[in-house]
């Protein structure tokens, strides 16, 4: 059993070329499926449906009753705050997702902390289409959804939400440079000069090790009024139909998802588990990290089902054989915040961009 570590940059290209050279691996954890080789995947339904595994069915990629990919882990977007700054300013924050704050309350609190501690910004927000979905959903918008075979124009609440988002990118509340020119919000948060950071669960492992100059905690995502977030998958585990090794490949995937083994995998990698009912002991010593995982699990359980729709739409299109294009949200929002266009044009461009290959 040989495990090969492939860098993320270029991984998708590499799989494409490997498919064309008939040298696909036996199994892989891939960033996303590709029409080029999706018909070479084995059916994993016996593993996905096995009652002992308790796999969250919301995130399975299935087509014609065949399960083509099982997520390696669940990811969710979420909020981090600089606890040291909050404590210094003597401002309180909620700790229970069922008693979460609204965005207005959140921004008022961070304003207060910022002015009291003379920090630079209230918030930095990951520059990503997936993350912005959380903003839209929690404010009551439905985001960009498929209507039949194509993406439909979004509802007015969504448009308003995007407009509001652009407004707070004003170099006081949020720095423009993150969404307009790719500045790294992770680095900005780590400087200790930013009160809050909206990103996701994958930062926890990194923060546990590399933030040593201030205290951080995970805080509940604000709801105005909807409890939601963006729920997505880490990698997708697939097994290829390579003649000689197909059976072994499937056995490996089966082995991977047996609860005892999956527990070890999820614990070691700091995953949110795709299987429920497991007791995970993460290798983190920091209380903040452990509390963080507990908070995320609670948030996922409270989240509106809409939270799964982002990745579900992309998956559906892929399985229907459509060539997927890169989500234009990032570029269009960058233009909006940079003042190159208004919000209506932004929204129109996003919809036409999403529909470009369909």
């Amino acid at each position: 059993m040989e495990i090969v570590n492939i860098p993320n940059d270029g991984y998708q290209d590499k799989l494409k070329q490997a498919a064309q050279a008939n040298s696909l691996p036996d199994t892989a954890s891939v960033p996303s499926l590709d029409n080029l080789w999706v018909n070479q995947l084995q059916d994993l339904s016996s593993i996905a449906n096995a009652p002992a595994n308790n796999i969250n069915k919301n995130l399975i990629t299935a087509k014609d009753n065949k399960v083509l990919a099982i997520p390696s882990d669940v990811t969710a977007a979420g909020l981090f705050i600089n606890k040291s700054l909050f404590d210094k300013a003597k401002v309180s924050y909620p700790t229970d997702p069922s008693q979460t704050w609204t965005w207005d309350q959140f921004l008022a609190a961070t304003d207060k902390v910022r002015t009291a501690t003379k920090s630079k910004y209230d918030l930095v927000y990951d520059n990503s289409p997936a993350r912005i979905r959380a903003w839209v959903y929690t404010r009551g918008g439905k985001g960009f959804q498929l209507s039949g075979d194509k993406f439909a124009a979004p509802d007015a609440t969504t448009v308003q939400a995007l407009s509001d988002f652009a407004k707070i990118n004003n170099d006081v509340i949020m720095p423009k440079s993150v969404w307009t020119s790719g500045a790294d919000p992770n680095a900005l948060f780590k400087s200790g000069q930013v009160v809050a950071y909206y990103s996701g669960v994958w930062q926890v492992a990194d923060f546990a090790d590399s933030i040593t100059n201030f205290e951080w905690v995970s805080a509940p995502t604000p709801a105005q009024p909807v409890h939601a977030t963006d729920i997505n998958l880490g990698g997708k585990v697939v097994a290829f139909n390579n003649s000689k090794t197909a059976a072994a490949a499937k056995q490996w995937v089966d082995f991977l998802y047996q609860p005892a083994n999956y527990t070890k995998l999820a614990s070691a990698n700091g995953y949110l588990p795709i299987e429920s009912g497991l007791t995970l002991t993460y290798p983190f010593t920091k209380k903040a990290a452990l509390d963080s995982f507990a908070l995320y699990n609670k948030e996922i359980s409270l989240a509106d089902p809409l939270s799964y729709s982002g990745q579900a739409n992309q998956t559906k299109l892929l399985l229907d054989g459509k060539a997927t294009s890169e989500d234009p949200t990032k570029v269009e929002m960058a233009k909006l915040i940079n003042g190159q266009q208004d919000v209506q044009k932004t929204v129109d461009n996003i919809v036409s961009g999403l529909n470009a290959g369909l």
């Binding site: 029409n35 423009k176 020119s181 060539a323």
Partner: protein
């Protein structure tokens, strides 16, 4: 081509003397001489010729074929004639990217040229002290990959917590929007590109500078010329073919720049600093419009041929 970066090349401008006419000794000798002028050069270029055919013509032909189809990377490639090219010529974003690319190239070529030649000249001058260490310092920036260069330059010129703004604020000024202002952001990339590309051109200039016969300098000294005059009247003309190639290749390389922009400002703010190759990636390859991306690439190639042609003509005129 797998040539990782586009680098200046020595001039193809013709300063080669023609081989003198073979001595007429008899018909057999003449024929033999002329044959050797065909066979030998053919043999010499054979390696590159084969590689050229296999690894440039063949893939380029495939790419050109794609440009007349609506290939998406998967399945068949249905031909669409000139559709891709027509769409391209009607796309305002294409022209915006092209213009920005010209602006960038027009700025970065002179800065790179001056910096590299200046550094090379200093490094072979007998007057400067401590050259080995300095040589290494000038060399290192070329080794740094774009992703690290992005981190470095964002740290120095970061709009939020960058070093330069930190100093400016400490001195009482206002933070400069190095990322939010498109032109300032472009200037940062120009600085970073010059910084990174100096070593490469410096190496080429060093070899050329060392090749200038010292007899010329001696003669000039005897005539009482000072350093600047020597540089202008002897050095510059003597390395002119190399200068030409450095300029040509730096131009071609600048027109194709993308990784550095992606690392430093991601084509931003917004899309204001999207150059042509980023446009090709974004509208073409990322969106699985392989046919369209190939068409745009060949239009770019055509433009680059024109630029190279113009530079070659100027060079030829200057030499005659």
């Amino acid at each position: 081509m797998v040539d990782s970066d586009q680098r200046p090349r020595p001039s193809p401008g013709d300063s080669a003397d023609r081989p003198p006419e073979p001595i007429r000794r008899g018909p057999f000798t003449r024929v033999r001489r002329r044959n050797s002028y065909v066979l030998t050069p053919l043999l010499l270029i054979s390696a590159n010729l084969i590689l050229f055919a296999l690894f440039f013509i063949w893939p380029a032909a495939i790419g050109l074929y794609y440009s007349f189809t609506s290939y998406t990377g998967v399945g068949s490639a249905p031909p669409v004639g000139l559709q891709n090219y027509q769409n391209l010529f009607h796309d305002a974003d294409f022209y915006a990217a092209l213009l920005r690319t010209f602006v960038y190239a027009a700025c970065v070529v002179p800065t790179t040229f001056v910096a590299s030649l200046g550094v090379a000249y200093l490094l072979i001058s007998p007057y400067a002290k401590g050259k080995p260490l300095a040589r290494t310092i000038f060399f290192v920036p070329w080794l740094i990959s774009p992703i690290i260069a992005g981190v470095i330059w964002r740290w120095i010129f970061g709009e939020n917590f960058g070093l330069v703004n930190f100093i400016i604020i400490k001195l009482g000024g206002d933070a400069v929007p190095w990322q939010s202002n498109a032109n300032l952001s472009l200037i940062i990339v120009i600085i970073a590109a010059t910084w990174g590309n100096t070593a490469f051109n410096m190496l080429i200039f060093t070899a050329a500078l060392k090749n200038v016969p010292t007899a010329y300098y001696e003669a000039a000294e005897l005539d009482g010329a000072n350093a600047w005059q020597k540089f202008r009247r002897i050095t510059l003309p003597a390395i002119a073919p190399t200068s030409f190639i450095v300029i040509l290749l730096t131009t071609l390389g600048a027109m194709k720049e993308y990784p550095l922009f992606r690392a430093i400002n991601d084509g931003g703010p917004g899309t204001e600093n999207n150059l042509i190759v980023q446009y090709i990636y974004k509208t073409g390859f990322r969106n699985a419009h392989i046919g369209y991306a190939s068409a745009a690439s060949f239009v770019l190639m055509f433009i680059l041929m024109i630029i190279a042609g113009i530079q070659l003509m100027i060079n030829r005129r200057r030499e005659s």
